[in-house]
């Protein structure tokens, strides 16, 4: 096994990552980095985090052999890592729980978060309620409409949801607005970023908290299968569930790592969110990474049927894994994801999130051409209850 110890001290993954923020935020990021560096190797903190993951989140999440889905594809065996069974229904809570504990250690009483699909907002509101902290969630006004059940869940949990009307009114604009809140209220506020992007130390910290997924897999797969899977597949918007599953496997070169981006209406149409497949490097939201941008360096609006993947950037570590060839990145279209969504409902009795359906779709696509003794492990990052309106509307049904 080869050592992999990125990011470096300044948060760089090769040419990616870093700290690209206005001077006003530098102090807050320095403070966070210093605190987190201490906590991440503090046995008491790790014990506290693991206790919460077990008793509050419900970890470890199981791995499950999707036999009927595999049969339908007629090739490789598809296994699922059931992150959809976590408390709040997605992997997002692994990270919000970790960051809430960091916030408590730093004495911060107010939590802010950005959200796209609403899963990260719900997971943030949940831990804020759990620890009696104030919570403000920024959400693009387009997403507030697309994901109304999650908006109500956040409100039930005591959070205020602020619709963001600027720019494209989606996740990237919610992130801008949360940053503006943070810079204004920096002293008492902790910003829980929901993906492996943003300025250092966020990409590292969010990866660390989510990497419980990959660590569990490392022991679960040999237990149930006698070996590691041949490939791990995960959807990539910002890339937190993928990074969580991939990270512990980076030294295990025999396991292919496949990130599945949102191909929207198809890459050729330009209406998609497949940043690593079709974007180019630049600077946004505090880090250097691949971006969807025009020739003038302006960020362009993305499209995906799944709000959680509808983001023009991607975590800098994914950019590095792509360039080094350690991970592969592909895209599937809205229609392919929907097809996988329905197959999962009917064949496995699992309603997956539209985000996760992208990873399932690609697994189904490549399983067909693989021998039956090969194993594809899909990180089923979330459940699809939140997507009822979107799927029904797509099928011409009014709920």
């Amino acid at each position: 096994m080869q050592m992999y110890d990125l990011p470096d001290r300044n948060g760089h993954f090769g040419p990616y990552g870093g700290v690209f923020v206005a001077e006003t935020l530098i102090h807050a990021l320095d403070e966070l980095r210093t605190q987190y560096e201490k906590l991440r190797s503090d046995p008491a903190f790790i014990e506290e985090f693991e206790y919460e993951l077990k008793h509050y989140v419900g970890r470890p999440s199981p791995v499950y052999h999707a036999k009927r889905l595999s049969q339908k594809c007629g090739g490789a065996q598809i296994w699922l890592k059931r992150e959809d069974l976590n408390h709040t229904g997605a992997h997002k809570i692994n990270n919000t729980m970790g960051q809430a504990l960091v916030a408590r250690h730093m004495g911060k009483k107010r939590i802010i978060a950005e959200t796209g699909a609403g899963q990260h907002g719900v997971a943030s509101a949940t831990v804020a309620a759990r620890y009696g902290m104030e919570c403000v969630v920024y959400m693009g006004s387009e997403d507030v409409i697309r994901q109304s059940p999650n908006v109500y869940r956040m409100k039930l949990l005591g959070a205020s949801v602020v619709p963001v009307e600027s720019g494209s009114k989606t996740l990237k604009d919610a992130l801008n607005e949360a940053m503006r809140d943070w810079v204004t209220n920096v002293e008492g506020t902790f910003y829980i970023i929901g993906t492996v992007a943003g300025p250092h130390p966020y990409p590292m910290m969010v990866r660390d908290f989510n990497s419980v997924v990959g660590r569990e897999l490392l022991t679960q797969m040999p237990d149930v299968l006698g070996r590691q899977p041949d490939a791990i597949l995960a959807c990539v918007g910002g890339g937190s569930n993928a990074m969580g599953a991939f990270y512990p496997y980076i030294p295990h070169k025999e396991v292919r790592l496949i990130g599945v981006e949102a191909g929207g209406f198809g890459i050729a149409t330009g209406k998609h969110a497949a940043t690593l497949c079709a974007g180019k490097p630049g600077v946004l939201h505090g880090n250097r990474t691949y971006l969807m941008q025009d020739d003038n360096g302006q960020i362009i609006e993305t499209h995906s049927i799944s709000a959680g993947l509808d983001y023009p950037g991607v975590g800098p570590e994914h950019a590095w894994l792509k360039d080094t060839g350690r991970a592969e990145y592909v895209s599937v279209t809205d229609d392919e994801a929907l097809e996988a969504f329905h197959a999962m409902c009917r064949l496995e009795g699992i309603i997956p999130a539209l985000e996760s359906s992208h990873a399932v779709a690609h697994a189904m696509k490549i399983a067909r051409d693989m021998p039956k003794d090969k194993v594809l492990l899909v990180n089923l990052s979330g459940r699809g209850d939140k997507d009822m309106n979107t799927v029904a509307k797509h099928s011409g049904i009014e709920l």
């Binding site: 870093g18 206005a22 530098i26 940053m179 360096g297 302006q298």
Partner: protein, 265 residues
């Protein structure tokens, strides 16, 4: 000596402070930008900060966000902004112009192409909001070879060691952001600013401009009493927003003149 240093030297000998207005290039129209710049100079501006519009202006409040959106809607790119500076230079060869914006449009053009184009357009300084000193060395060096100043921000939360670092890299002037928050927020805290300036001066051997929260002649005058330059942005952009393309240059000129008068009184 650069145009920026010359400007500060001249003002110092006259016992005056610099007035630095900020406007977003291309707002409200591309055609209005050069006349607005000329009007700013006539009204008493010493240096012009010209905002390069960006789709995701993370450090800006709603006023400058809207100006960026207007400029982008009419297609204003970094190349256009450099074109405005070239045109402005045809009639004004002495007023320094500082480009202020975000990293990505510059990265998309490439450091070399950008510094080349900026130098030939007549740009005097560049302030990249999301390039703190740690991430800006390459651009700073590229600009330096062309004689263009790198302007950096300092904030109320900047620690002494960072102020030293900025002092080593910066040239032209440094821009002290007088409050925590985004552009256009709240009002300035004069005692906080005057308390911080001596420490900054101890490490930075450059003129210090103060901005964020300066809204009228009175606050500009108070800041001019303690700093070397007064930066005013959101208030001007509000004026642009309230004007028509026909009267915008005149309105902006009148507002800047009133601030200049208050500062010099």
């Amino acid at each position: 000596m650069s145009r920026i240093s010359e400007t500060f030297a001249r003002l110092r000998s006259q016992g005056r402070k610099a007035l630095i207005p900020f406007v977003t290039a291309g707002d409200p129209t591309q055609a209005a930008t050069v006349p607005i710049m000329q009007s700013l100079v006539t009204a008493g501006a010493d240096i012009i900060e010209l905002g390069v519009p960006f789709s995701d202006p993370m450090a800006d409040g709603p006023t400058i966000q809207r100006s960026s959106e207007r400029a982008l809607k009419n297609g204003t790119s970094l190349r256009n902004v450099l074109g405005f500076v070239s045109t402005f230079r045809q009639t004004d060869n002495s007023t320094p112009v500082v480009l202020m914006g975000y990293a990505n449009p510059i990265e998309a053009m490439g450091y070399e192409a950008f510094t080349e184009a900026a130098a030939s357009a007549g740009v005097d300084g560049v302030l990249v909001v999301d390039y703190p000193p740690e991430e800006s060395e390459k651009l700073t060096m590229a600009l330096r070879t062309k004689g263009i100043d790198s302007i950096f921000l300092l904030s109320p939360t900047s620690e002494e060691s960072r102020i030293e670092g900025v002092g080593r890299l910066a040239s032209g002037y440094v821009y002290y952001v007088s409050l925590k928050g985004v552009t256009g927020a709240a009002n300035i805290d004069l005692s906080e600013v005057s308390g911080r300036l001596p420490m900054i001066r101890a490490h930075v051997n450059l003129p210090i401009g103060v901005g964020f929260g300066i809204r009228d002649g009175e606050t500009a005058r108070a800041i001019a009493g303690i700093a070397d330059a007064v930066v005013i942005g959101s208030r001007l952009v509000q004026e642009i927003e309230a004007s028509t393309p026909e009267n915008v240059a005149a309105n902006i000129g009148a507002l800047v003149r009133s601030i200049r008068t208050a500062m010099d009184a």
